[in-house]
Symmetry: none
Subunit: 412 residues, 2 copies
Amino acid sequence: MRSMIIIIDGLGDRPVKELGNKTPLQKANTPNLDKMAENGINGIMDSIAPGIRPGSDTAHIAILGYDPYTVYTGRGPFEASGVGLDIKAGDVAFRCNFSTVDDNYIVTDRRAGRIKEDTTPLINELNKMKIEGYEDIEIIFKESTGHRAALILRGENLSDEITDADPKVVEKAPKTVHSTTNSPNAEKTADLLNKIIKESYTILRNHPINLNRIKNNEAPANIIIPRGVGLVPEIEELNKKYEIKSACIAETGLIIGIARFAGMDIIGVEGSTGSVDTNLDNFIDTIIDNVKNTDYDFFLINIKGADESGHDGNAKEKVEFIEKIDEVVFSKISQLQDMITVVTADHSTPITVKDHSADPVPILVYGKGVRVDDVKRFNEIDAVKGGLLRIKGSDLMNILMDLIDNTHKFGA
Amino acid sequence: MRSMIIIIDGLGDRPVKELGNKTPLQKANTPNLDKMAENGINGIMDSIAPGIRPGSDTAHIAILGYDPYTVYTGRGPFEASGVGLDIKAGDVAFRCNFSTVDDNYIVTDRRAGRIKEDTTPLINELNKMKIEGYEDIEIIFKESTGHRAALILRGENLSDEITDADPKVVEKAPKTVHSTTNSPNAEKTADLLNKIIKESYTILRNHPINLNRIKNNEAPANIIIPRGVGLVPEIEELNKKYEIKSACIAETGLIIGIARFAGMDIIGVEGSTGSVDTNLDNFIDTIIDNVKNTDYDFFLINIKGADESGHDGNAKEKVEFIEKIDEVVFSKISQLQDMITVVTADHSTPITVKDHSADPVPILVYGKGVRVDDVKRFNEIDAVKGGLLRIKGSDLMNILMDLIDNTHKFGA
């Protein structure tokens, strides 16, 4: 038996007036998900705990069986991991923006005109940076899409107890980074980061790419502004923790970053946009191909679009995307043999809230051996009557590993 | 959106034979609560944890989101706070009785003949007390109703690891207080308390009020006997913890004490007795008035009577009081706009037990945005089928704050 958790990102919702006080999932026509619910065991899940409003990152950390209160030190480590940096415990990691400052060092564009060029040549220059007095610290940048990048600092005696450099608005200088404690490590890291930011301007301001952008009346990517600092925590690799061989198929860097950090293999999908226009045919083909032709015994899968519709408050779009994934993805998922499949969400993103909420998410577990209950439809309201009742995200991997007979008895 | 938790104290119950094996809440005719259940989301709640039999105090502490195992050090601090003393972290607090001892220092009446006079003149004398060797410790008494009073000791190196002075029965001397550990602080506090008790007799025995009582053949209030010791813990104020402006409307000193200690504003109700004969019209008028004319965004409300009927084992009275609050209070509560209302209990006080039990209590959450389930009646049995399933008291504030969109996302 193999296993799979499919996270429909932001799926959970609240009753929506324009849908006749149904949730988008209640309203959507989902014959395949309903068939799985009918032949599976259902319930609701608090990814972290009742009333705790999760991010996608903290929710996925919890669902993979880690304690987000220990593991989640900030967004930086997972963004850095997501762009492909091999983060290590003790690294201090940041997400960064290429931004634009004027001659007076005032930010005029936080996203450097949403630069479209490949920023790799800029990153290559930044990676040559040496800061006097900090020769023992490795300074590692990596490009991401558009104006996005990541940074890790690697060395002894670093700290994440420092403030952000991002001024959040334009017409202000990048903020001076301060330590938030009086630890010497925090003061050292703050000082280093201030010097890195200044030095990035020195390196980037006259770079040919930027001179060319100025010539074309485009905002130059002439400074790098880090934020979302986090100290990379020590964690046990997922494969070791559960004695599995695992892979992740996901659309967003943040989720991929978490999976990479947990030591999972990452499987890419051609045409994946992380939005409702994503190529779902490629998505399901990639899943089926990997189920058939690899020996992974656990897949973590994240489909992003529904969350976006929730953030946009677009009920119709959320319903339609749910119907589309039911048709394209779950028509085939429901056919898989020798597979225990969990379908759930990381959190609710209600249309009426336009952001994540703490409302629990529906969950179904489908496959051989589960105690089939009498729930017939997959949605937030019917799920409550299911055999799982109300579980926590941190319970899920244990439940799943038990169903594929891949656990150790505790005691005799 | 604003929010409100209404605690019907001791509401939960077990099946009662004389009610046809229904609980009092099942038996009661409660059209307004049922309407709220029908249009809300329902469930059951363990105020502390399954099988843990709560006090009203520990249950309210948990429901407000504090850990009762850390915060509840004894009844003293909350009684002291309830009578209006501004307790501070580190204070050692007691509830006290004015009692009567004879010339041989033997207690002849633990409640000083249930003294009706205002005891403020006695308290004023007690507050002049100086104990040799303890000049650095503030000794602060405050009167309450009847024979009741409170005491706090404020200063360095005090401890609550000491025994009670209350002999619990008459014809015995007040107990000598001992330290329960061999910490010097506990030994010091025990010694101080023994001297305070003795000194109270010296101060009170010939007080004009007592000489007058003796003349009238009434038991003099000639000694003060402290009990329920607790070290006042450090807690974060409720308003800060949840970023709200909060108020409490309650009938008993203990609940008011908890609310005051949590930094909530206290709103009094004229004619409130804490019993089934309380003035419910004034009670609901006070609620409605404060909802309309103040900017509190969270109310904690406690109605006491049903608990008393439970303690008395009076099923008929409990049913009638529930029907009365449904008619007088919930007919109006159910009409409130822009309000998320929680109706629940702090604990069960079953008729058959005549004391608190650990049976979970029914809970309903009513207002805009909740996932309405198909529960149609508010009682212990129907509630189990609701969408909340089974939650803990410590989850409630988080769930409620999420519903009024007043939380911070954990992660991104």
